[in-house]
Amino acid sequence: MNALERMWAALRPGGLLLDIRPAPERPWVQVWRGENVTMVGQIDDSYRFGTLKVADAAVQAVVAAGRVARERDVTFTYLYHLYSVDAWLEYMAEHWSSALIPADVIARAREALPPGVEGEVRILRIIRATRLRRV
């Protein structure tokens, strides 16, 4: 029995399944200084896209089998705020190490937010939340 089938079995009839996960889109990186915003580029986390596709197929399979019905999708932006370029890179190394940050993106971020200057790096990650109901 796979993970979704186990969850389906654990749900009461009419119960709800909430699936939250990143959309298959590369997150944008911004530098904010006061009200000024510089888009410095995108993080490459496309390594995850294959897994997301497999997850989509698994959900679609339980929908097609008539076990759950898709009721609603909501997409939103999840923001990471980091208060220097070094803090951003340290965070990435510790928590998101499989993602690639192109060198030119780092260079633009350093140019937009030099050390000692007040501002922040923001990562904009698109997240999709789906509600499904056990039939």
Partner: protein, 99 residues
């Protein structure tokens, strides 16, 4: 502090827009350190959080507020191997668990 994650609480707003947790029995799959659990646990009747990473579950247990200890439980468990009671939950929440 070097990092703030979702201080706008966009995720919290969305999960409450999609699910009414009031009085529900919730299975939180891939609960990690309880980051998402705390966004809805207050309203529920009960929460069972599962995660295969023992250190994360230990942290979630440590982080459990005293007033929620009677209704929130965490277990080190992989959903693909977990022995779960049939038809026991009103909501199953998966936070970044299918990817």
């Amino acid at each position: 502090m070097t990092a703030l994650l979702d201080p706008e609480e966009a995720e919290t707003r969305v999960i409450h827009e999609l699910i009414d947790f009031a009085g529900k029995d919730v299975l939180d799959v891939g609960c990690g350190d309880g980051r998402m659990t705390w966004r809805f646990a207050e309203l529920t009747r009960s929460v069972l959080g599962l995660d295969p990473v023992a250190a994360s579950v230990e942290q979630a247990r440590r982080n459990t507020p005293a007033h929620l200890r009677s209704k929130v439980t965490f277990q080190v468990e992989d959903i693909t191997a977990a022995q779960l009671p049939a038809a026991a939950f009103d909501v199953v929440a998966l936070s970044w668990s299918l990817c």
